[in-house]
């Protein structure tokens, strides 16, 4: 075991766990910039790229907190579709739009509360619980919307802030990422989440309220999913009952895992989730830009994700092997 006080810069970089996925992201950006010169260097394309990244990044923050505790929320994509409708109906009955937005997020949070209570007090595995709420919320959304798209409530100033202005969604995403990163690493909530994920019995023995923490993280994830749905609705000026669904949920979970959060629980990284969402966004945007057709799109996307993950894991192995005792 050899620990110098001045660890080499390279070693320090490799041990920073988000390093490997950041390398992957940078390589992809370089590739797409080379393949299609408009990838990054015009405002339109940069704005575009951020719109590919932001939604998954926000939801990933919540899913990461849950994955650290060994749980998952499969209903996030459906809550994403439901929240804007709640906002819409609230606004229709005359509630002022900002309050309607808050009500939409609260409605989403209540689904999270349901997820948390069923998982924790009834001891149903979260996979099953949230699978159930997935269908429940989807059916609820289809019912209240009669399957028909709806308008976003009026008021352009608020709409600009809540997603209509091209860069607003990525700013929201960065704010959420910053906040959750601080929570995870610098507050008792986050540290205890990690401890409870790494050693649930041990954490309970140390006096941590593991159940309360879990329920809180379910509420957080659902609220973030609802917020994302509302932001996207304002961005495209339409509330669509088919929106989101399982696609966005898988993207968020994938972003977290690609970024370095273990599916088995015990550790996680919010910054990694942002970078993971970045990788997925760069791939989707880049492949569309260079003209890949829809049929082959998913093949290439799937292969690219696999390649990114394999590269990521092997860099981690290299770092562990090289930098460990």
């Amino acid at each position: 075991m050899n620990h110098h006080n001045a660890v080499s810069l390279r070693e320090r970089f490799l041990q920073w766990r988000e390093a490997s996925i950041l390398v992957v992201a940078l390589l992809l950006i370089v590739y797409f910039e080379w393949a299609n010169g408009d990838f990054l260097l015009s405002s339109a394309s940069l704005q575009n790229l951020t719109q590919y990244i932001a939604p998954a990044a926000i939801i990933a923050c919540g899913e990461i907190m849950l994955m650290i505790m060994g749980e998952i929320d499969l209903s996030a994509g459906m809550v994403y579709a439901m929240a804007p409708f709640i906002m819409h109906f609230a606004a229709e009955t005359g509630v002022p739009v900002p309050l309607a937005v808050v009500l939409g997020v609260l409605a989403a949070a209540s689904v999270g509360l349901l997820n948390g209570l069923v998982t924790v007090t009834l001891r149903v595995p979260s996979f099953i619980t949230t699978l159930g709420t997935l269908f429940l919320v989807n059916g609820f959304t289809l019912t209240i919307s009669a399957g028909t798209p709806a308008d976003v409530p009026g008021g352009t100033a608020l709409a600009q802030v809540m997603g209509a202005w091209g860069y607003s969604e990525i700013l929201w995403a960065l704010a959420v990422v910053a906040m959750l990163h601080v929570i995870l690493r610098h507050t008792r909530w986050g540290l205890h989440t990690t401890a409870a994920g790494a050693n649930p019995t041990g954490a309970a023995e140390a006096g941590i309220a593991v159940h309360r923490l879990k329920i809180g993280n379910f509420v957080l994830t659902a609220a973030l999913a609802g917020l994302t749905g509302i932001l996207e609705a304002f961005r495209i000026s339409s509330i669509d009952p088919q929106a989101g669904g399982n696609q966005i949920m898988f993207l968020a979970v994938a972003a977290g895992v690609i970024g370095g959060t273990s599916l088995a629980g015990g550790s996680g990284t919010i910054i990694g989730g942002l970078i993971g969402a970045g990788v997925l966004g760069v791939l989707s945007d880049g492949l569309t830009l260079i003209g890949v057709n829809a049929f082959t799109f998913n093949i290439i996307l799937g292969l690219a994700i696999l390649a990114a993950m394999i590269f990521n894991i092997h860099i981690v192995r290299l770092a562990r092997g090289g930098g460990a005792e």
Binding site: H186, N199, G202
Partner: protein, 251 residues
């Protein structure tokens, strides 16, 4: 002066199973008490009642002579009772200093309730130096430590919280001779610092007789034997245990 901890006629049922069948024992000031016994004898259950993790079905606990009902682990901790469980309650992915301060983090003042990493690191180094534990860096994740180092951290965490009564569940389990020796030295140093009364559940009779001042032997939910270690020996203890096996054979 009253003893720090005294249990009288403690009974604990888990449904149809009786784990403790009337245990009376006390922990005297400044002593190291060894609790011996086979698996299923009720040692861990007794410990969990002392720490407030479980409640006795009947019987009473006296802390410093005062009859007390321990409402929770936090309540027991507030009274100065700390425990180190077998699984050590360490979070593998968290660093040494974060584990040391788990659920007792040092905070920055102010409404944001942010934890003070710098202060915790500093205090962690001080604490480890104080009780003579050598860890290369307090930033190492707990999973990178050896078994003995992990045990030392868990004990250090308990000591950090101003414990007066320290309970250890199999502190030397799964440890090689050298590491066990280091932990034994640590426990002896802690005792020498004064005003700490230690009760340990142990399996290895030789090690127990080396550190403990007094031992009790538990068999099937009861204390069947109690002696100062100076007045007994490994051979005698083993004979008692053998008698129990033989007793079972003739049933």
């Amino acid at each position: 002066m009253a003893v720090p901890l005294r249990a009288e006629a403690i009974v604990k049922h888990f449904g149809a199973v009786t784990a403790l069948n009337g245990v009376t024992v006390e922990l005297r000031r400044g002593e190291i008490l060894g609790i011996l016994g086979d698996n299923g004898a009720g040692k861990s259950t007794l410990l969990k009642i002392f720490t407030g993790y479980q409640r006795a079905t009947s019987g009473r606990l006296l802390i410093d002579g005062q009859e007390t009902v321990l409402r929770s682990v936090d309540h027991a901790r507030a009274l100065g009772i700390e425990c180190v469980y077998q699984d050590l309650a360490l979070a593998n992915s968290l660093s040494v200093y974060l584990n040391l301060f788990l659920n007792r983090e040092i905070m920055w003042p102010g409404p944001l309730r942010l934890v003070n990493h710098g202060a915790m690191r500093h205090r962690a180094r001080e604490l480890l130096a104080d009780i003579g534990v050598h860890i290369p860096s307090v930033d190492l994740p707990a999973e990178r430590l050896s078994g003995g180092q992990r045990q030392a951290i868990a004990v250090a965490r308990a000591v950090n919280s101003q414990a007066r009564i320290l309970l250890l569940d199999e502190p030397l389990a799964a440890m090689g001779a050298r590491e066990a020796g280091l932990i034994i030295e640590l426990i002896q140093r802690l005792k020498a610092k004064g005003d700490l009364s230690i009760a340990m559940i142990m399996h290895n009779y030789a090690q127990t007789l080396e550190i403990a001042d007094r031992i009790v032997l538990m068999q099937r939910g009861r204390i069947t034997y109690e002696r100062e270690t100076a007045a007994t020996s490994v051979a005698e203890l083993m004979e008692i245990v053998r008698r129990e096996y033989r007793g079972q054979d003739t049933v």
